[in-house]
């Protein structure tokens, strides 16, 4: 079959916030609230967590103009829209990085394990998508949780040839319920990004 050619990506540029988080950018009165501001919308099931981190460029400077999106299953391992998914959880978060520190933060729940199409289960994880000035094609990565025995058998982690790089996808437990996930765009600690 002859496929149609995919539309090319272009950088989100420095003004992505105007379009995606206009209230954050000071453009008020157009949309009631910025999309993805709340992942938890009610009495959610599961363990509430805070996921936070910074994105570092090749000079170890945090990006202050990036936008990060999160997509994840609920505590039971179901994505919003699937039968039985938690009605008080959207699974989708969008965060403009802090303009001083570059930190992104999501108030969410710890996801459950999800099935792998060829059988077995994937370890609980949160998908992140990162766009910014200087990034020509949005970067997909995954946040996994430390100390989870399921990490050993996760089919995606199992594909990482250089095993030392697996660590770049595992968050650090900072204190109760707070997980830090720093992203490095370049060597030596370059985060694993996915072609999905």
């Amino acid at each position: 079959m002859s496929d149609l050619p995919e539309t090319a990506s272009q950088t989100a540029g420095p003004y992505v916030h105007i379009g995606c988080t206009p209230n954050f950018a000071g453009i008020t009165g157009v949309y009631d609230e910025d999309l993805g501001a709340q992942m938890i919308t009610g009495d959610v099931s599961g363990e509430r967590i805070t996921l936070t981190g910074q994105i570092f460029d090749g000079t170890s400077t945090p990006l202050r103009d990036a936008m990060v999106e999160a997509w994840q299953a609920d505590a039971g391992g179901l994505y919003a829209g699937q039968d039985g998914a938690d009605p008080h959880f959207t699974g989708f978060g969008r965060c403009a990085c802090d303009q001083d520190s570059g930190a992104f933060t999501f108030e969410t729940v710890k996801p459950g394990a999800t099935p792998w199409p060829q059988g077995g289960m994937q370890a609980p994880h949160i998908t992140l998508w990162i766009v910014a000035r200087g990034i020509n094609l949005g970067l997909h990565t995954r946040v996994y949780f430390p100390g989870d025995p399921a990490l050993e058998t996760d089919p995606v982690l199992g594909r990482i040839e250089h095993r030392v790089r697996v660590q770049t996808l595992i968050a650090e437990a900072e204190k109760d319920g707070v997980y830090r996930f720093n992203i490095h765009l370049q060597d030596p600690e370059e985060t694993v990004f996915f072609d999905v």
């Binding site: 496929d3 149609l4 050619p5 995919e6 539309t7 090319a8 990506s9 272009q10 950088t11 989100a12 540029g13 420095p14 003004y15 992505v16 105007i18 379009g19 206009p22 453009i27 009165g29 157009v30 009631d32 999309l35 993805g36 460029d57 090749g58 999106e69 997509w71 994505y79 919003a80 829209g81 699937q82 959207t90 999800t114 099935p115 792998w116 199409p117 060829q118 994937q122 998908t127 998508w129 766009v131 910014a132 000035r133 200087g134 990034i135 020509n136 094609l137 949005g138 970067l139 997909h140 995606v156 594909r159 990482i160 765009l185 370049q186 370059e190 694993v192 990004f193 072609d195 999905v196």
Partner: protein
């Protein structure tokens, strides 16, 4: 369309040849922000094949009308009035309905409403610069706005962006997530732009250039430009193992 009844498999892999390269030194910011390792591919699973669903109740009545959605009552944005319309399809020519499209752009003078903006062109008090809509059953969408102006940016000694509108798209799956830019037919700045130049394939650039569409022009009101978008698509289940078990 009957295609929706075909059992769907994983998303086809991205077509890297149609996309920009990560590292493109003429676009200076890419030098320290481009990953150096090749991205790792894996067959898509539920997390990549699903995504947030945005219903029409999200949309306000003026969300797709940038001429008026930030304007004072009775006023509208200054500049050449245009309609931007098109269809969103996947690579297998199926319409992508229910896709959220968010757009942002500079005003007619090339100025963004943003505190980090450094261009001296004036703000338009009646133009905010953002809009959004959701594609119809057949994948079609439409915005009303002003033609954005080109603007200078700190890259080379005298770089100017061609006029453009930024587009963000949510398809049915998170794997389809895309941000791109639409350019305008006949703009001589397109082929001088390092951000455009990060796309190596000339035909891929040409597909980002919206032609003037006189069929949709509204007499004494607005010109029209047509911008069609192709997102990745899902293969049918029967192909899945063969395509992805490589």
């Amino acid at each position: 369309m009957s295609d929706t009844k075909i059992p769907q498999g994983g998303y086809a892999a991205r077509q890297p040849g149609h996309h920009p390269v990560a590292l493109y030194p003429p676009y200076r910011t890419s030098v320290k922000r481009s990953p150096q390792a090749a991205p790792l591919s894996f067959p898509t699973s539920i997390g990549e094949e699903s995504g947030p669903v945005f219903g029409h109740d999200l949309l306000g009545p003026l969300d797709a009308d940038l001429l008026h959605n930030f304007a004072q009552d009775g006023a509208s944005a200054i500049g050449p009035r245009i309609i931007v319309h098109g269809k969103v399809r996947d690579q297998f020519d199926r319409p992508v309905s229910g896709a959220l499209i968010e757009v942002w752009q500079a005003n007619a003078g090339g100025r963004y409403r943003h505190k980090k903006e450094g261009y001296i062109a004036p703000l338009d008090p009646n133009f905010g610069g953002c809009g959004r809509t959701i594609t119809r059953e057949d994948g079609s969408y439409e915005f009303r706005t002003v033609l954005p102006g080109p603007y200078p940016w700190p890259n080379g000694p005298n770089d100017w962006r061609p006029a453009h509108i930024h587009f963000s798209l949510f398809g049915a799956g998170f794997a389809q997530r895309l941000i791109t830019q639409m350019y305008f037919e006949g703009d001589p700045l397109i082929w001088r732009c390092p951000i455009v130049g990060s796309i190596g394939d000339k035909s891929a650039v040409e597909r980002l250039i919206a032609p003037l569409d006189m069929n949709r022009t509204v007499p004494m009101d607005a010109r029209a430009y047509e911008f069609n978008i192709i997102l990745r698509g899902r293969r049918q289940t029967m192909f899945e193992n063969r395509m992805e078990g490589l």
